[in-house]
């Protein structure tokens, strides 16, 4: 079985490299997601801010990052941040060298794109919690800060899980795009393996299966969490509460 050989673990096969690539893929997705969630809240607040320029910024942010193809966002951010950093470095300390890694560039652009969609998840979840909760909290004398963290947030995340779960799946699949700027994640490792083994169907088929498994596992986990957090709430025909 020559094809099994090329997947073996060790110097002869690509098994260990693929495993490493899988690790990078997961690391990228896991590192990006918390940023994306926090950014989602910030962008939502920007969109409902009392200051017009801030509102306009929030709207422009979502429009731009929802309209541009992820790969274009990635390339622009990668090259542009590279240019800015090297310009800064020559301004501050001429002669030294600093560059943005593909991992950081991928993290930034994926977080921007996901948070553009995430801000709408936040809006929906906040609507589901209702304004009354915030009003009740502030009439009890809680500061907006405390009202949010002590009253709204504990109720909010139950409504946000389906939306953020979907975004997690999108994020997981979008990490494959970062292979274009040569990050050694799953897809890029597969292309490298194909360059030497000449078995494109085997390797791309294999990583396709890995992605499907990751997505299936994620949705399973999401269903479990949804079930768990909606304990004690009456389920209606379509949707929760």
């Amino acid at each position: 079985m020559t094809w099994l050989n090329s997947l073996s673990y060790g110097s002869g096969g690509w098994g260990d490299e693929l495993l490493h690539g899988l690790g990078v893929t997961l690391a990228l997705a896991l590192a990006t997601f918390p940023f994306a969630i926090v950014l989602s809240f910030l962008i939502h607040w920007a969109k409902v801010s009392r200051y017009r320029p801030v509102r306009m910024f929030g709207r422009a942010y979502t429009t731009v990052f929802k309209s541009l193809p992820e790969i274009l966002t990635l390339l622009i951010l990668y090259y542009q941040s590279q240019a800015i950093v090297s310009w800064l470095v020559t301004a501050v300390a001429p002669g030294s060298h600093l560059s943005i890694s593909p991992f950081v560039a991928g993290m930034m652009s994926l977080a921007f794109v996901i948070s553009a969609y995430g801000s709408e998840v936040v809006r929906g979840a906040l609507n589901a919690v209702g304004k009354g909760q915030f009003e009740a909290a502030s009439s009890l004398g809680l500061s907006p800060f405390h009202a949010f963290f002590k009253v709204i947030l504990p109720q909010l995340w139950r409504h946000a899980i389906p939306g953020f779960g979907n975004l997690w799946v999108i994020l997981l699949k979008d990490t494959s795009l970062v292979s274009v700027i040569t990050l050694f994640e799953l897809t890029h490792v597969a292309t490298l393996a194909i360059n030497t083994t000449r078995q494109p169907f085997l390797f791309f088929g294999l990583i396709a299966i890995i992605y499907v498994l990751l997505v299936t596992l994620s949705t399973r986990a999401q269903k479990q969490i949804e079930k768990r957090v909606s304990r004690g709430f009456i389920r209606e025909e379509n949707g929760d509460v």
Partner: protein, 224 residues
Amino acid sequence: MFELYFGEMARWNDGLILTAVMSTLSVVIGFFVALPIALARSKSKGIPGWLALGYVNVFRGVPLLVLMFLIYYGSGQFSRELRSIGLWWFFRDAYYCGLLALVLNTAAYQAEIIRGSLDTIATSVLETNAALNLTRWTSFRRVLLPIAFAKALPPLGNEYILMVKATSLLAIITVFDLMGQARMIFSETFDLRVYYIAAAHYLVLVLLIEWVLRRVEARIKWMA
């Protein structure tokens, strides 16, 4: 900035047209692929339902880029077999392979959208159709499908926009859509502004489609 656009106007326009054509083709073909899958998901409890579920889960789980690589480069591993059954002309061409990947991908998403809207049609509509003595086929074609379509239009419009963005991945398998032309011009000039021009194209294209969709939705809202 201007010379990068006006100097290369012909290429930008070619790219724009190809992006529009590929995304529209894939959404339209994908819709007709999605219809039977959605029906199987919505109405069948047996093997067709399971197959449809499998299709949807697989093609929504694979990143589009990987699917394109799998079809375009992966088919190369079977070039002799494909030649002997006379399908090589199809898999040799990046345009056809890319279109196939886009169609397979969007069909999975559209099937779920259509299934969702089929499932929300009230049972009273079905009962009315039975009372009017419509056959199941007539009932589906003349009543359920139009209602389902009107209900599904907003998410289908979203899917169209997602496909416009997704066509940019074609550039990676050497198709000269908007993104492909941008990459080409960038490789000649090494001027980052090339990508900003491409971004402006996508922005205008998506905003334009959103505007048109809003108008169409407003017209057929009564049906949904």
